[in-house]
Each structure stands twice: as structure tokens, then as C-alpha cells.
């Protein structure tokens, strides 16, 4: 199957920040976690894909087409969840159904209402009366109700308590059971991603540091723990970041580069992100 989403050298310049030649591919049937600190450019990238921002250079192929923004028909297949609902406070889920059912061709009201019920979203309450978590759940129900092939989630789980996040993760995992479905999930809450993602793309200060298979990533790297002397014995080219404290040194390094007997811990995705972002280069 052809990849769902392909970005090639996508660039966007702002005053004071540039998203610089970001390229990655999301294969069908996969979950890609898009990580990076706040302001790294994750939302910018997603907005560029959605056409909310106009790119300065590069290309985006969605479902194999580069001109998907002209007729917007491809958007029937996309479910989007941004951090705000984008819906008026005075609307109820019933109103939302009335509006969106006339915009999406494949909108299924039964699906929408049963998702609302499953997630505990009251049908007749106005959005302004709902809690943050419930609003988000409404957005997600709306994103899934028209049977999309691609879910674009921009910080869709941030600001929610762990219980709700867990419920949502279940929903996403259910979604991905269908091999033709894919998810691009940007988040700075890594526990969501660690477990379920197939690929991880790490954006740092506007540049893509890596976009890789998560399992390979975790197998490649480990966190070295020891003293300066031991650190110096490791090939610096294979060390990705060093953190020093009063009592020792920690470094993110390729497992294979660490000599036998070195004390090391498994690296988590969070470790990888922190070492890249905050670690010094040797």
C-alpha cells in the first residue's frame, strides 16, 4: 500500500522561527508519534499538512496526491482533533451532528452518538457546560464518526487526566485495528506514545532529528551511566547527548558502542528526547 502521508523538505519561515526541510513518511496501518518540545514545530507541521498554513517550500503528498488541497475531497478521509474543539459554545452534540452530517458524505449519526455515549458525552448539553476532557472526547467522536482513514491528532491528549488519556488510547488502538487506518499523533506527553507507536518522529527547533521505527530506536540506544573516564572511552560520534551532575555522568549512546560491563539503562523515548534537547555534545 502506498504511504498515507509523505512530507518532503517541507519548509515554513516565520519571524524568529523556521520549520526547516522536514521530511518523513507515514506508512498505512501505522501509528506515528510526533514528538518535540513546545515550540518545536509540531503544530506547524500538522497545520501545513492541513493547509491551514501555506508552505514556503517542499511537498506534501496525502493519499498519494500533492494537489489534495484544491478540492478538499481527501478531507472526507481525515479525522482531525486539535487542542480546541473549534465548535461554538452554544452548540450541543446534537447540533454538531446536524451541522457535520451535512458536510461529511460518510457521516454516520448512529456512529457519532454511540461514540458519544461510549465516551460519556451528554447529547443535549451545550459545549460550554462540558469539562475540558469531555470537550476533547466530543472532538474525537466527531473525528471518528465519518469513518476516516487517517487521524491527525495535535496534542489531542494534553490537558487531560491520565484516566481519560488511557480511555482515548484504547480508542485509537481500536481504530488502528483496520490495516487501512493510520494515525499521526503529536504529543509532548510521552507515555501515550511509548507503548503504542510504530514510528517516532522527533522535531527539535524546527528540524527533524529523526523519524524511525520505535522498536529499533529503543534497541539502538541506551543510557550510559558512569564517570568521565569511562565516557571518554566511548566513541563520541555515537554519543547523542551528555548530562553531568555532581556525582557522575549520564549519556545517551548507541548500545553497540558501549563496552561490556558498562552500567546502562534502557532508554525511554523521553530519555532520547531530553538528551537530544538538553544534553551537551560531549
Amino acid at each position: 500500500m502506498e504511504p498515507v502521508l509523505e512530507l518532503t523538505d517541507v519548509t515554513k519561515r516565520f519571524k524568529g522561527f523556521t520549520l526547516d526541510r522536514v521530511s518523513f513518511t507515514l506508512p498505512a496501518g501505522c501509528i506515528m508519534g510526533f514528538i518535540g518540545e513546545n515550540g518545536a514545530g509540531k503544530s506547524t507541521t500538522i497545520k501545513l499538512v492541513l493547509g491551514l498554513l501555506h508552505k514556503d517550500a517542499g511537498s506534501v503528498r496525502l493519499f498519494g496526491r500533492e494537489d489534495y488541497l484544491t478540492d478538499k475531497r481527501a478531507f472526507e478521509e481525515i479525522g482531525v482533533v486539535l487542542d480546541e474543539t473549534g465548535l461554538h459554545d452554544s452548540l450541543t452534540p446534537r447540533d454538531v451532528n446536524a451541522v457535520l452530517s451535512r458536510i461529511y458524505g460518510a457521516w454516520n449519526p448512529d456512529r457519532f452518538f454511540s461514540l458519544c455515549a461510549k465516551l460519556g458525552v451528554p447529547e443535549k448539553k451545550r459545549i460550554k457546560e462540558l469539562s475540558g476532557g469531555t470537550k476533547r472526547k466530543l472532538s474525537i467522536a466527531a473525528a471518528l464518526a465519518h469513518d476516516p482513514k487517517l487521524l491527525l491528532l495535535d496534542e489531542a491528549t494534553s490537558g487531560l487526566d491520565p484516566v481519560v488519556r488511557d480511555e482515548l488510547l484504547d480508542l485509537f488502538l481500536e481504530f488502528i485495528q483496520d490495516e487501512t487506518h493510520s494515525i499521526l499523533l503529536s504529543s509532548h506527553i510521552l507515555s501515550d506514545l511509548e507503548k503504542a507507536c510504530d514510528y517516532i518522529a522527533f522535531l527539535h527547533q524546527g528540524k527533524l532529528v529523526f523519524a524511525q521505527r520505535k522498536d529499533l530506536l529503543l534497541e539502538t540506544y541506551a543510557v550510559f551511566k558512569g564517570g568521565e573516564a569511562e565516557l571518554s572511552k566511548i566513541d563520541p560520534a555515537r554519543v547523542r547527548g551528555v548530562r553531568r551532575n555532581q556525582f557522575g555522568v549520564e549519556a545517551l549512546a548507541e548500545r553497540a558502542a558501549l563496552p561490556r560491563g558498562t552500567v546502562m539503562d534502557n532508554a525511554t523515548i523521553e530519555d532520547i528526547m531530553l538528551f537530544y534537547a538538553r544534553g551537551q555534545q560531549q
Binding site: 498554513l53 501555506h54 478531507f75 482531525v80 480546541e84 452554544s90 457535520l100 461529511y104
Partner: protein, 210 residues
């Protein structure tokens, strides 16, 4: 587009109710104060008010949209940017038409003659459309917050214009024929302005970033 209009109407329900209440109060006051004499002029104030309020509603809609960050969301739907722009004009058109019908009913109920009522309402419709054509591109370009002041300015300007022209029309001696001619010319002018406004709006909206 249907979905967009439904969304607009649902969201404006509250505002429309308030406006209707305002108008009723105004009408009652007007009838009480100017019973008999001056009732003729009074009716036009009411009708004018209705038209202006109807023309302002798209602006209210835009403010609500902005507060809800709806525009951003709308672009994640399978809707073209041009469709969004057209729907704003359509909403305005529907509201102006609604106001015209309401004006007709109220005018007739107040006993105004059709001969006087129709040209007047037609003129109101033209002015409302003119206002719409000026407001929408500005809203799209500057957003509802910043556009607010521009909007009030334009509304005031046009209201003033309407009153002056209106009083000119009211001058006895202007024949029906020249009145009709003025209205027809006016309609052509407004139609052209609307078209220009739409093309400007389309261009502005295509470029807009969220």
C-alpha cells in the same frame, strides 16, 4: 454549504431573538409615542433598523466564529475555502431577504401603501447589500476583533447616507419613473459591487493563514 448555514443559523438563534425583542419594544414605544401623527415616518425608522440589524448579523456570526476558533476547524473539513466565503455572502443574503419580508409585513400592517413601501424596501435591501459587500472582505482580512471598529464606522456611514438619500426620495415631485430609474441603476451598481466584493473576499481568504 448547507451545513455551514445551519451552523450559522443555530448559533445566531440567540442573537436573533434578542433583536426581535428589541424591535418589538421599539415598535411598541414608537406606536405609543407617535400614535397617529408622525406614524408614517416612524415606520421607516423601524424598517431601517430591521434592515441594519439584519446586515449586522453576519458580523455577529463572524465574532462568534472567531471566539470559537471555528474558521480553523472549518478548514479541516472537506470544504473549500471558496465555499466558506460563499456561505458568508449567502447567509447575509438570506438575512437581508428575511428582513425585507419582515419589513413588508410590518409596513403593510402599519397601513403603509404598497406603492411607497416597495421602493423603500428595495432601497433598504440595496443598502444592506452594499454594507455586506463592504463588511465581509474587511472581516476576512482583519478578523472580527479588529474589524469591529471599521464595521461600526461603515454602518454609521451608510446609515447616514441612507437617511440623506431617503429624505431625497421622500421629496414630493420625484416621479415614479425617475424613482424606478434610480433604483434600477442603484441595483446594477450594487450588483457589480457585490461581485467585486466576492472576488476580493475569495482572494483574501485563499491567502489567509491560521
Amino acid at each position: 454549504m448547507k451545513g455551514l448555514l445551519i451552523k450559522d443559523l443555530i448559533c445566531l438563534k440567540g442573537t436573533i431573538k434578542i433583536y426581535i425583542a428589541m424591535i418589538l419594544v421599539f415598535m411598541v414605544l414608537g406606536l405609543v409615542i407617535a400614535s397617529g401623527d408622525g406614524g408614517e415616518e416612524g415606520i421607516w425608522t423601524v424598517l431601517g433598523m430591521i434592515s441594519i440589524l439584519a446586515a449586522i448579523l453576519p458580523f455577529t456570526s463572524a465574532i462568534l466564529d472567531e471566539q470559537a476558533h471555528w474558521d480553523k476547524r472549518a478548514l479541516t473539513l472537506p470544504l473549500r475555502r471558496s465555499t466558506v466565503v460563499y456561505s458568508k455572502y449567502l447567509l447575509g443574503g438570506i438575512l437581508i431577504l428575511g428582513a425585507a419580508v419582515a419589513n413588508l409585513c410590518i409596513g403593510l400592517a402599519a397601513g403603509t401603501e404598497l406603492r411607497e413601501l416597495l421602493p423603500g424596501i428595495w432601497a433598504l435591501v440595496l443598502f444592506s447589500l452594499l454594507m455586506l459587500s463592504l463588511i465581509i472582505p474587511l472581516l476576512l482580512r482583519f478578523g472580527a476583533e479588529k474589524g469591529r471598529f471599521l464595521m461600526i464606522f461603515i454602518a454609521a456611514l451608510l446609515s447616514g447616507l441612507f437617511v440623506t438619500v431617503g429624505s431625497r426620495i421622500g421629496i414630493p415631485g420625484i416621479s415614479q419613473a425617475s424613482l424606478m430609474r434610480m433604483l434600477l441603476l442603484g441595483s446594477l451598481a450594487v450588483a457589480a459591487i457585490v461581485l467585486i466584493s466576492v472576488s476580493i473576499s475569495l482572494r483574501v481568504y485563499e491567502k489567509k493563514e491560521f
